[in-house]
Amino acid sequence: MHAQIVLFDGFDPLDVIGPFEVLAAGGETVGGELTVELVTAEGPRPVVSGTLGLALNATAKLDPSKPGFVIVPGASGPIEGDPDEVDTIPVLLARFGETAAVPLMRKAFDNPDIIVATVCGGSLALAMAGLLEGRNAITHHLGKDVLDATGVNVVDARVVDDGDLVTAGGVTSGLDLALHLLERTYGPRVAIAVERLFEYERRGTVWTPEGDDE
């Protein structure tokens, strides 16, 4: 299994590092059965985040043929401001939709061996690109109304598991997202082992469509 975390210009560092560390520790726990890497749609390159110029190095190109997880973080940047003048977070997320990431993400959705996961505004980036039509998803609480306007069914939960799409709320929920992916794929023991190591416990109930009459 492979976990590919997709970096793009202006990404939120904690959205990336939370799942990165949890999945890396999970990979250790399952004896290297899970590899974790930072990727971009363009290939290996340093990618500058939206927070104080912090950069991370992507080491590969997003490969939608690899089974496992493809994780899309949100962006960090100004929340207030006229989007015609300031690159607000929705503007940064919409730019993701104009990159080569979109056709690759479409292939990832088409691959039955891939779970697409998002943290924070990552779901909004995919939704703005028209990839989440009619799906159940969550984003950062400040982005829920925009997510709703894109035709997504917004679900109020910290982690929303809609099958091949698992979305999480704001920033720190990326930890819960990655622990859920570990539990779903490798069982609760792996998730608990990582929780112990990181001295962090998840909160809230993971939403799933079971029992939904719609």
């Binding site: 989007p83 015609d84 607000t88 703005m128 829920k144 925009v146 306007a149 894109t150 035709g151």
Partner: protein
């Protein structure tokens, strides 16, 4: 017509035509033309819905007043606060 969206202003050209007593319309923006739905005219007031995919996927509801060659009103994207729209006849 100029429309404010969460990712900036859009310039959209609207076309309204009467087709056998029914009003049909379309909106042409950056790279796409989409049909208008549920067009309702009551005097000077016109409302309609449209779904765009460029530059982002967005459901929009419009409520405008036409005054001669000018148009003013609001567009609303889902639960977001409504924003002002203005337009002129071409």
């Amino acid at each position: 017509m100029a429309i404010k969206t969460p990712i900036g202003s859009l310039q959209i050209l609207y076309t309204f035509t009467e087709d056998g007593g029914t009003l049909v319309g379309s909106a042409t923006g950056r790279g796409e033309t989409v049909p208008l739905r549920d067009i309702r005219v009551a005097g000077q007031r016109t409302t309609w819905k449209q779904s765009v995919t460029k530059p982002m996927r967005l459901n929009l509801d419009f409520d405008v007043i036409v005054d001669g060659d000018r148009l003013t009103g609001y567009s609303k994207a889902g639960r977001l606060p409504r924003s002002t729209v203005t337009g002129v006849r071409r």
